[in-house]
């Protein structure tokens, strides 16, 4: 038996890098990030970096991204690449505009969800039943959806009161909630401008003040997805379709059914993201999504195809979005923040032996630092580009240990198992 035991020891590949950081390390990392934020805030004098208003704006911006990312995760966990998220979001924005102005925001949300689900179903029919390349089908949906939305908008909104050819009448916003006592106390602390303490208070205040019910719903959906995908038979089967469909089929899992469900759900989440976007900005507008479906995909990849990770990714992109909205001064401070973050990445990568990546990150970090110190403001044209630049940088530098579902994007035909 000793021989057998040593075989097992020998045939086991040496343990890979730490899978999970202990809780304490997470707390430490978050505290460190907050410290850097506060330091930059004080140094650059950019209050917006940590103000409750920024956090509120970031949250609003992050929710549609998070929904798009969640949508992407649902589809890709079942092995279907859904690059059509953008188009499904567009359908969602239209649905929200159409139903929202007539029957209120929640009807808008439901309609957005339904239209998105139809988009998802279309993608499922193309990719699962007809074996169309996932990218091609997704691109087709991305081309089809905006055209369809514009056509319908001309049809229904041109003559509606307050509507136009390219926009819907106003939609009422969803209810917002504030935790009364806590918000005021945190507000008072925030106004003191104390180092670190006020920053933390400001950020917390943003999380408990005037939070839209849509945001709460989004958080619940993310938590619900964790449960559904990782704690139920349904979720296990769905994920197995993305990891090893042949194995799943050999165990009697109806792979087609789960792929259909996953991709339709994906469409529904994307539609929901679009609906949130329309409702929170008060109307449907043509071109409203402006690439959020793709940024959502990026957030999903950043999040390693996991709900917690994609929520973090969406928050990051939402935050830069909010900074762009706050204007030039905030984005200027963001330069310094980016520079610091890149240098940290450079050090981390150097320690794990990735010299090229480390030098690239280090070089960019120094460049951003130089840019910050040699200028007083960021050109207005570049302010709006900030979220996209951050998306690029994050994906380029963080995609080292990602583990996509194994059978992703591959066509699957029933009975192809050997």
């Amino acid at each position: 038996m000793t021989a057998g035991l040593s075989v097992r020891a020998g045939s086991t590949p040496p343990a890979r890098g730490k899978r999970k950081l202990p809780a304490l390390a997470w707390v430490g990392a978050i505290a460190a990030v907050l410290l850097v934020l506060s330091a930059v805030r004080v140094f650059a004098g950019a209050t917006d970096l940590t103000s409750s208003g920024t956090v509120q704006a970031a949250l609003t911006a992050a929710v549609p991204l998070a929904m798009a990312a969640l949508a992407g995760m649902w589809a890709e966990r079942a092995g279907v690449i859904n690059i059509g998220l953008e188009g499904m979001m567009v359908l969602g924005t239209f649905g929200a505009g159409f139903a929202g102005y007539q029957w209120g925001p929640w009807a808008g949300v439901v309609f957005g969800l339904l239209l998105g689900a139809i988009g998802g179903l279309l993608h499922a029919v193309a990719t699962v039943t007809f074996g169309v390349d996932h990218i091609i089908s997704g691109v087709a949906i991305n081309l089809l959806a905006p055209g369809l939305a514009l056509f319908l908008s001309k049809l229904y909104f041109s003559d509606a009161p307050g509507g136009g050819q390219k926009q819907s009448p106003r939609i009422d916003d969803a209810q917002k909630i504030t935790i009364p006592g806590l918000s005021d106390v945190l507000g008072a602390v925030e106004d003191k401008r104390w180092f670190f303490v006020s920053d933390v208070a400001g950020m917390l205040r943003g999380l408990v003040t005037q939070v839209s019910l849509l945001t709460v719903l989004a958080a619940l959906l993310i938590a619900g997805s964790v449960w559904l995908l990782w704690h139920t038979p349904f979720g296990l089967r769905l994920r197995s379709c993305g990891e090893a469909p042949v194995a799943a089929e050999s165990l009697g899992v109806n792979v087609y059914k789960y792929k259909y469900l996953a991709v339709t759900a994906s469409g529904a989440f994307a539609g929901l993201g679009g609906a949130f976007l329309a409702v929170s900005s008060g109307q449907f507008r043509d071109g409203q999504t402006s690439g959020r479906g793709f940024i959502g995909l990026a957030a999903m990849i950043f999040g390693n195809w996991r709900p917690g990770g994609l929520a973090a990714g969406a928050s990051l992109f939402g935050y830069t979005d909010a900074m762009a909205l706050r204007g030039s001064a905030a984005v200027h401070a963001l330069l310094l923040l980016l520079g610091i973050a890149l240098v940290v990445v450079a050090v981390l990568q150097l320690r794990s032996g990735h010299h090229v990546l480390s030098s690239v990150a280090g070089f960019l970090g120094v460049l951003f630092g130089f840019w910050y110190f040699s200028s007083d403001a960021v050109p207005a044209e570049l302010v709006g580009a900030a979220p996209y630049v951050v998306t690029l940088l994050v994906l380029g530098l963080a995609s080292q240990r990602l583990r996509p579902p194994k059978f992703i994007g591959a066509p699957y035909l029933r009975g192809q198992g050997k």
Partner: protein, 513 residues
Amino acid sequence: MPTEPAGGEPAPAVELTGITKRFPGVVANSDVNITVRPGTVHALVGENGAGKSTLMKILYGMQQPDEGVIAVHGAPVVFASPADAIGAGIGMVHQHFMLADNLTVLENVVLGSEPGSAVALDFAAARRRIRDISDSYGLNVDPDRLVDELGVGERQRVEILKVLYRGARTLILDEPTAVLVPQEVDELFGNLRELKAEGLTILFISHKLDEVLSVADDITVIRRGTTVASVSPKEVTARKLAELMVGTALPVPELRESTVTDRPVLTVTGLTVTGADGRRVLDDVSFTIHAGEVLGIAGVEGNGQAELVEALMGIRAPAAGRIALGGRDITRLPTRRRREAGMGYIPEDRHRQGVVLESTLWENRVLGHQTRKPSSRGPLIDIRAAKADTERIVRDYDVRTPNIDVHASALSGGNQQKLIVGREMSADPVLLIASHPTRGVDVGAQAAIWDHIRRARAEHLAVLLISADLDELIGMSDSLSVILRGRLVADHDPATVTPEQLGSAMTGAEGED
């Protein structure tokens, strides 16, 4: 209805009568008759392409027979899908594991028949059940590990557990030892005996005759799609079985006289490769292969062999070290230039790297030789010459195929492998990297491939041989090194070493400290 055996003997666990299965142009099985007694290990032996796999797919409901009757415990059944077979208590352990790497053992096992309710998978119950099965059959499986982290032997036990979890009483094991080292094989046989002791029936498909003789209670031999003999292991020798299987004697991996010269062909110094996470998967490896020498590398899979081969072929960039081919530094050369410099490569996984299954044979012949004669003329592919040369390979290497315009997927594994060997031996390579050259091929193809390697060696080819088949390694190598955790840890003389010694060196049981 098959006639029931007379007397008090229990009805056979599985009985196949007159099974015939035709595919367009081929008869895969014709008039197959097998009777499997309950509570026994029944071996089904035959060359690859003899129709064993098709037969098992029929028994497992993956394909339907054109003629014939399947009876389970005396009652005739019709299996429309694997689910029906599972329902009748038949489970299959596939040769290519059907496991999702990114899921845990538990998730893999319960998939499709999960305990608990629709809104909450009962992980605790599943864990308990898996531990129970694992303990009662000595499978030693930890339900909470990620399959990705498991070795080959463990994965196989997970597969067995998967079938047992579904209540199978008859297990089909398709070539279960193909990927195991000797100790793992012993362990597997221990597991099989325990399963048998619990009253389970095992159908064991193999072409390794020694193994079959040591573990089986009954043996059925299948040749060219039909059953040619049913024998008892007590009355038969390996040689006799081999004759039944192929009509000729069993080939032996052996080299005759030494052809080793003192002219180094491949010199590797301090080769180090790091993985994606920065860990050293290949650590300071140095060796030299001379013209006419076969260097064998023994090791449990996943100890750096794949990385070594990839670094040598230029598929993976080394972190440090130098590779020289015939005195010329090729460390920085891309793969195509290396191949042009005379490196041939028989990859480990022929479906992933060796052939394009959906391309014709002659197109596969061109791949890797697309810049060289006779496959190309200037910037264009010379289709006529490529086809002519493919005909030559098909003839010289005995690739059994209707013609060279069929897709590679139409060939059996052994024939695909012979095509690859033929291609890699074209254009007079100076170095051949052979990764598991005879894995999953039948006895005839195996003998042919060994023969080709021997002949090329006599013509001063240098060969790096990596294999999990220790007899092959010992028999075909002029020198032997053992790789463990990315390092070459020991050298052995193939003339004196035994598979057992090699096996323990491979697992680090000796010489580690």
